[in-house]
């Protein structure tokens, strides 16, 4: 398996306060890794350590399978917290500063990237007069210099209007699908994140609670009829023979989750009762992604 990022017990402390606590994260090549956590959970600090802006007190990491981080960071583009831009310059001038600082000789690179992030027609407009979305896109443009293989984005859609969010979402999907850039992205807008992420990591109080794939998340959030019965085996047989339902599973002893025929649950209940099954509970379950994440993070709204 090709990993772009692998951390081993990465820890950061400020004084006695542990902000990131022994995080073992694996980001596979091609992933759009959605990094989720409440305010102060440690997302930004973790990303800053990966980008080389902060130093861990413990633990190690590998970038592109190498421990020579300084060398590998050339392959990373990052936009962490606010984009580092000069307000009194135009977008093109900001890009020129970066091009010269990175020693990129191809002058057309500036135009190409600006075109890609749809900022090529901003002319002499100073960056301080840009909208939030434009600033974010310029931040992404700066991160895209040197054609990174791995993009680290911290809350890139924060404060954007719906149109701005869609623009950034489309841009990230394009980068991932067309340029094969692996992306580590954190966001508070979980619904949006779930539209692009292929893998998730949940961080709480500095601890990486869980990592899972998009498919697994969909499975967990899938709408179903949940049945708590006295005999799962007999109930399963009735479902198949009488109701012709085969799409179900048994997540725990005594519990059945039925994923089809959800508009006629009364029929399932009827057949099971007629078959002599004692139904202790029967209800429709499943939630949206936002609700699921909220449950995981402890039920508060500020994920």
């Amino acid at each position: 398996m090709d990993y772009v990022l692998k951390t081993d017990g990465l820890t950061k402390q400020y004084g006695k306060h542990t902000v990131v606590d022994h995080v073992n994260m694996k980001v596979k090549k091609g992933d759009i890794y959605g990094f989720i956590g409440k305010n102060g959970a440690g997302k930004t600090t973790f990303m800053r350590m990966v980008a080389g802006l902060a130093f861990p007190v413990e633990g190690s990491m590998e970038l592109f399978g190498s421990k020579d981080l300084e060398k590998q960071r050339v392959r990373i583009g990052s936009l962490i917290e606010q984009p580092g831009i000069y307000g009194n310059m135009t977008a093109r001038e900001n890009m020129e500063v970066m091009r010269k600082s990175l020693g990129i000789t191809e002058k057309h690179a500036v135009e190409e990237i600006l075109e890609f992030v749809k900022l090529s027609n901003t002319g002499k407009k100073k960056v301080k007069n840009f909208s939030m979305g434009m600033k974010q896109r310029l931040g992404i443009a700066l991160a895209l210099f040197t054609n990174p293989d791995f993009l680290i984005l911290d809350e890139p859609i924060n404060g954007l209007d719906p149109a701005g969010i869609k623009e950034i979402r489309d841009l990230l999907l394009e980068l991932n699908q067309e340029k094969q850039i692996t992306i580590l992205i954190s966001s508070h807008i979980l619904g949006e994140l779930s539209k692009i992420a292929t893998r998730y990591g949940i961080i709480k109080d500095g601890v990486l609670m869980e990592e899972f794939e998009q498919e697994e998340l969909e499975q967990r959030c899938r709408r179903c009829q949940k049945l708590i019965v006295d005999d799962v085996n007999r109930a399963s047989a009735i479902l198949e023979e009488k109701c012709h339902i085969f799409n179900y599973d048994v997540p725990q002893t005594g519990i059945l989750r039925v994923f089809e025929g959800l508009d006629s649950t009364w029929n399932i209940n009827k057949e099971l009762i007629l078959g002599g099954i004692k139904i202790k509970e029967s209800y429709l379950a499943g939630q949206d992604l936002e609700g699921y994440f909220m449950d995981l993070l402890g039920g508060e709204k500020n994920a």
Partner: protein, 279 residues
């Protein structure tokens, strides 16, 4: 490193604050010349008896070879104005504010993370910022001297230029630049430590305004021990630097003190930035 400097110089070219700083310096110099010119006018009117202004006290009158009174503006001359701009740290004030805006602000506003995050070593990043600041010091010092000379022509006339001792002016400029570069190391270090534009400007201006008073106090305090703090402080050398009749001991000592201060601040800055988290 060269790439980084390339980027810094591009920023400098595009920096509006650079041109504003030069304009402020120009305004200050103009004010100095105008004040001298005004004083001369008052004296002239006083001598011709056409003034209502009463000047108390005796003033030493300097006469030329033909017995004419030499105007104060000519007594001070271009060299005097140059000395005034450096001795009183006017030049350093302007440089400190501009460097704080140009270099220091980047430590705080996030722009520095663009290059740190691209794998440049921390040492390279800090040194490139320091070199850019040194470059700014040299350019601004030279620009200020040029402005003094150019503005001196309409105020002092041809005589002003004739009185200029180019050799002394060049030596003085060189020495002051060494002191200035040394202080630039301190400005950059303060900026790296504070990571805040306001704090950096306040601390640097505070150092410029009060440090020589503190060293003077320390000189008095330790006079019995025959130890002078002012002999180890670069701004004291800047204030005490003569513009003619250079004392070799003073120059050598000044250069050594400047180099030591510059090296110390550079090493501390690199060491601190190597371990510091970037915003």
């Amino acid at each position: 490193m060269l790439n980084m400097l390339h980027g810094e110089f591009y920023k400098l070219k595009k920096s509006r604050s650079f041109y504003i700083s030069i304009l402020i310096a120009m305004g200050l110099i103009l004010l100095l010349y105008a004040t001298l010119h005004m004083v001369d006018n008052i004296h002239e009117e006083e001598q011709s008896g056409n003034t209502r202004i009463v000047v108390k006290g005796e003033e030493e009158v300097v006469l030329d070879e033909e017995g004419n009174v030499v105007p104060i503006s000519q007594q001070v001359g271009i060299m005097g104005i140059v000395q005034q701009m450096f001795d009183s740290h006017f030049t350093e004030f302007i440089i400190a504010i501009f460097i704080s805006i140009f270099v220091t602000a980047e430590f705080g506003n996030g722009a520095i993370k663009n290059v740190v995050g691209k794998g440049y070593s921390r040492r390279t990043v800090f040194l490139s910022k320091l070199i850019a600041a040194v470059f700014v010091t040299i350019i601004m010092s030279l620009a200020i001297i040029m402005i003094i000379i150019v503005l001196g022509i309409p105020f002092l006339g041809k005589k002003g230029l004739e009185m200029l001792v180019w050799k002394d002016l060049s030596i003085y400029t060189g020495i002051q630049m060494i002191f200035g570069i040394s202080f630039t190391g301190i400005i950059t270090l303060v900026g790296e430590f504070t990571r805040s534009l306001a704090a950096s400007i306040s601390i640097n201006l505070g150092i410029l305004m009060f440090s020589t008073s503190i060293t003077a106090g320390l000189d008095l305090l330790f006079h019995n021990l025959n130890w002078k703090a002012s002999q180890y402080w670069v701004l004291d050398f800047q204030s005490a630097c003569p513009i003619t009749n250079f004392d070799q001991t003073f120059i050598i000592r000044g250069i050594i003190v400047s180099v030591i201060w510059f090296l110390i601040t550079t090493v501390i800055g690199v060491m601190h930035f190597k371990k510091a988290d970037v915003k």
